[in-house]
Symmetry: none
Subunit: 117 residues, 4 copies
DNA sequence: GTGGTCTAGACCACT
DNA sequence: GTGGTCTAGACCACC
């Protein structure tokens, strides 16, 4: 994974994991790699890896069994919730930003058409 | 203007000024307020105001006449350039983000429809 | 039994066993299940079960007969001792905590009244 | 401040700050010491101090102005909220614990009386 | 000067 | 072996 400058690594990895959950690459209830292994996988510091799991825990996406590891929540609604949340953030900044630039509905439709050609 | 947490004030004000240029609220060649007045207008620190003008100058959106003040470039193409640049940044993060969340073209079209109802 | 996150399982089970002794669900001199059976009963790791008996032994609440199993002490004063110890710990953290929050005697009395309605 | 063993320093300091807010030693809207100064005051590592402010932010007790410092929320209801939250945690563990030990209402009343003599 | 992030490494409790 | 906490120190962006 190549990290963007200007946006914290722990945010980028957190989002990557969330995307993988949404896309089904990671299943509900699944055990995540240990913080140390996650650090190796993404070539980051183990402390940063811990922070990522802490972040995911704060969002109730995973939980931790002491001494055993970190697991994805098996709450069925969680996936929809984070998909909705992440989409909302993306859409809000996009639509508000484009509106401020003077774009109207028709133009946005055309931009999407171009994008998918 | 209400500032977002987590995104630098100087970026937010810079974008606000750019939007106003694009929307025609600020005209080509127009004189901008002094850094001190800008600070009062946006209720920000004067140092931050200076930085905003530095930023706008670096992007060749305005220029300084010594002893007279800061003026918007009167280059007609500038407006299209910044509109295109800002739109590109918004679209890239939007489309990449939504694609990572598994959204496809059809769904994006529907979201726009909903948004404009 | 549902375990609290953030508090060690071995502490929670230890307290549960102590409570059962105090409430008379477990009698003086009674034989406790083997560590393996305790693990099954509470759905915990056998190592954790061993640790629980070690803990109880350290507090002189039970003792081990080699080859026979683990037995509750038949010291009559033990029950009062652990009841008093556990109550003291609960009360100290409660009273100190509530005092730090600015609660006074009268308010505590009222809270208890509400609690028992 | 003397720290308890077994409970994270950052939790203890967080609670200390919360108590001070509740008791009125810290006012709404007040600027908190910089993370570095907090570290000096409590004789802890600056990183631990940062973590404390992050914790308080997550609970919406304070917020941070970039480059300026950390400030107590000026939400009037915040004080009642955290007072209620902290009291609830204390009371739950107290009442459940005491009930498990077989104490009844009358006995709790008497214990409070003794405590305040 | 202020907070934010990241790395490095140590120690501990829990399973 | 697993996560949790803490220290130490560095670098950066922001005001």
């Amino acid at each position: 994974m190549n990290f963007e400058h200007n946006v914290p690594i722990y945010i980028q990895v957190t989002n990557d994991i969330k995307s993988n959950i949404i896309k089904g690459n990671i299943s509900l209830g699944e055990k995540l790699p240990s913080a140390r292994d996650l650090a190796l996988k993404y070539k980051i510091n183990p402390n940063t890896a811990s922070r990522i799991y802490k972040e995911l825990e704060a969002e109730e996406i995973c939980y931790t069994k002491r001494g055993l590891g970190t697991y994805i929540t098996d709450d069925l609604q969680m996936i929809n919730r984070i998909k909705k949340d992440m989409a909302k953030i993306l859409m809000d900044s996009f639509f508000i930003g484009m509106r401020d630039l003077g774009f109207v509905k028709q133009e946005l439709m055309e931009l999407i058409d171009q994008k998918y050609d």
